[in-house]
């Protein structure tokens, strides 16, 4: 039997708190899960620093990847005999679903920003590079690995296949919303996925939703909206992200610009500092390695690096105030000067962080043709864009929300001995009067 058709003698299952069970019968999928590149995902947290706010959020990208695979498997079971669906694409979809996050590194968000990396690039590089994953995919058929990479990169010719993995209602989002809600313990983020799966219909180049399932999709869109603002952009998590980014910036600066000698040579980081990261280096760095260095760097002589690491490891985070860049840019410039006067390096200790989200966007003919909207399939077979039929979705469609916050170490400010300077800083941060509560 060809490897692509090879089935395990009996079905294997992974117990899963979100989908109850993840079912595996294809030998290819079973072999991919066993590769070192996929097992590495156990050591990358799905939500980075969110566990410092929601202590349950310790789940990994491994959990999520299996979850996305399971959702796609269930969708394809429903699609099996439907018009427009080519079952020859089944294994390709399952592999792409399983491997879609393979290139995520430790604390992806901060790492990508500081070291100018792109996890999507590494996902592709792992799939087409000299790896165990590639070896297995090429055993399916020559060129199969490239096809999987193209589906994940959204450059595969069959758009229906791509839309299962990446669209405004795809398996990736359906898994992470439910999984992140489960592990953070929040009450939003839940929706009736079983219902959505039952009303998904394949058409020529996308997946559409049978119109009777509109309310389940409304619930999904609202869940997403809530999760972004209640969990993903939580200001305390952002404080941890700010510190994490500053640690990486500081370490890179010390290595590159100062010629600083670390107590232990940071060999795992050197190619990152030099912005010349090979696939091999990339795969070696996971969150356990990063935290090992942070633990060590608490003992470094560089006070900024040791202080930031101590804050991160012991959750001594920065405080924050609301910030409006339009009205308060002069305040920020003044604060920068005052922090310097106080001997608190503003580059590391005075940080504006902005978060934005677009819960759902719709197609505007001739303009916004980048994001495929969610289409409802009406009883007569015609398609209608979701927000034109749903008042709830219409109310949040195309509306972006931005939140700017200014982060700083309140404990350092409180410890200032120059009371005049301290008062000046506090007055700007908290407003006169209010600042007194924070000074004492």
């Amino acid at each position: 039997m060809a490897y692509k058709d090879d089935q395990l003698s009996e079905e294997k299952v992974f117990k899963d708190p979100v989908h109850r069970y993840v079912h595996v019968r294809d030998r290819v999928i079973w072999d991919l899960i066993a590769t070192p590149e996929f097992q590495r995902l156990r050591r990358i947290k799905q939500l980075g620093t969110t566990h410092l706010t929601f202590h349950g959020a310790e789940h990994s990208r491994f959990n999520h990847s299996l979850g996305v695979y399971e959702i796609v498997r269930r969708i394809l079971n429903n699609f099996k005999d439907r018009e427009h669906w080519n079952n020859e694409e089944r294994l390709l979809c399952l592999c792409a679903a399983l491997l879609h996050d393979l290139g995520h590194g430790p604390f992806s968000h901060s790492f990508e920003k500081v070291f100018k990396l792109d996890h999507e690039y590494f996902t592709q590089a792992i799939i087409v590079g000299d790896t165990k994953v590639n070896e297995i995919l090429e055993k399916v058929s020559p060129g199969f690995a490239r096809k999987v990479a193209d589906v994940i990169g959204k450059t595969y010719e069959d758009k229906l296949v791509v839309s299962l993995i990446s669209s405004q209602i795809d398996a990736d989002r359906m898994d992470y919303l439910q999984r992140d809600a489960y592990f953070t313990g929040v009450s939003y983020g839940h929706f009736d996925m079983e219902r959505i799966l039952r009303v998904m219909r394949p058409i020529e180049d996308q997946v559409v939703i049978k119109s009777t399932g509109m309310h389940a999709v409304e619930d999904y869109i609202m869940s997403r909206y809530q999760m972004y603002w209640q969990v993903y952009f939580h200001p305390v998590t952002r404080s941890a992200e700010v510190i994490l980014s500053k640690i990486l910036h500081r370490a890179k600066h010390l290595y590159q610009d100062v010629g600083y000698t670390f107590k232990l040579e940071p060999i795992h980081f050197i190619s990152f500092f030099e912005e010349d990261v090979s696939l091999e280096d990339y795969l070696k760095l996971d969150e356990s390695v990063v935290q090992y260095y942070f633990q060590l760097w608490q003992e470094e002589e560089d006070e900024i690096l040791s202080d930031l690491c101590e804050r991160f490891m012991n959750r001594r985070l920065f405080k924050y105030v609301e910030f409006n860049p339009n009205l308060q840019i002069n305040d920020l410039l003044e604060l920068t000067q005052l922090f310097m006067k106080a001997g608190i390096e503003p580059e590391y200790y005075l940080v504006v962080d902005s978060s934005s989200d677009l819960p759902y966007d719709f197609y505007r003919p001739g303009e916004e043709e980048e994001r495929l909207p969610i289409h409802l399939q009406m009883p007569n077979g015609s398609l209608k864009e979701l927000s034109r039929h749903s008042d709830i979705v219409e109310s949040i469609s195309g509306k972006k929300r931005t939140d700017h916050k200014l982060y700083f170490p309140l404990d350092k400010l409180k410890a200032l001995t120059d009371n005049g300077l301290k008062r000046q800083i506090m007055d700007i941060l908290y407003g006169q009067g209010e600042s007194r509560k924070n000074v004492n």
Partner: protein, 165 residues
């Protein structure tokens, strides 16, 4: 601190006016590929390189009053037009940006249609492939656009030209 926002305002100041969201997306992408240090992350979407970060950042700039977005009613669709406000210009004055002179590049980009820029940006997205495969991939991902050989030839000429400016 808000450097990425400032870089975009700088771009809008150089351009004076940008018409069309799609055109804006492709302009920034092509400028990135021509060594202008914009940092917005792009992914391939259904119709070419697209940056969600850019969409959100432009919206933020509008919300902050640094940019205005006006909606022009065309026959079959709406088109969005962007200008920098005096507040945006004041904001930009707070920064010392290390940006190359982009004037000629931006003028050249503005003179082209969004369809042409879509073609150019898609070719650039696949520029790591050998040229024959780039063209093959282009037709695969954009079958409905029917880009002609002449247009493709013109796009390659344009890429060389903008990189030399």
């Amino acid at each position: 601190m808000l450097i990425k926002h400032a870089k975009l305002i700088h771009f809008f100041c150089v351009a004076n006016e940008v018409t069309g969201r799609k055109k804006l997306q492709k302009m920034i992408y092509i400028l990135q590929k021509a060594d202008c240090p914009f940092e917005e992350k792009y992914q391939f979407h259904f119709y070419g390189p697209y940056s969600e970060e850019l969409t959100l950042r432009v919206e933020e700039l509008c919300n902050l009053g640094f940019l205005t977005e006006t909606k022009e009613d065309k026959a079959n669709y709406f088109q969005y037009c962007y200008h920098v406000t005096p507040e945006g210009e004041n904001f930009l004055k707070q920064f010392t940006l290390d940006m190359p002179d982009m004037m000629e590049k931006v003028d050249l980009l503005k003179s082209k249609s969004s369809r042409f820029l879509e073609l150019v940006s898609t070719i650039l997205y696949f520029e790591d492939l050998p040229q024959l495969e780039q063209v093959e991939k282009l037709h695969q991902v954009k079958p409905k656009q029917n880009f002609s050989d002449e247009e493709i030839k013109e796009a390659y000429k344009f890429i060389t030209q903008i990189r030399e400016l």
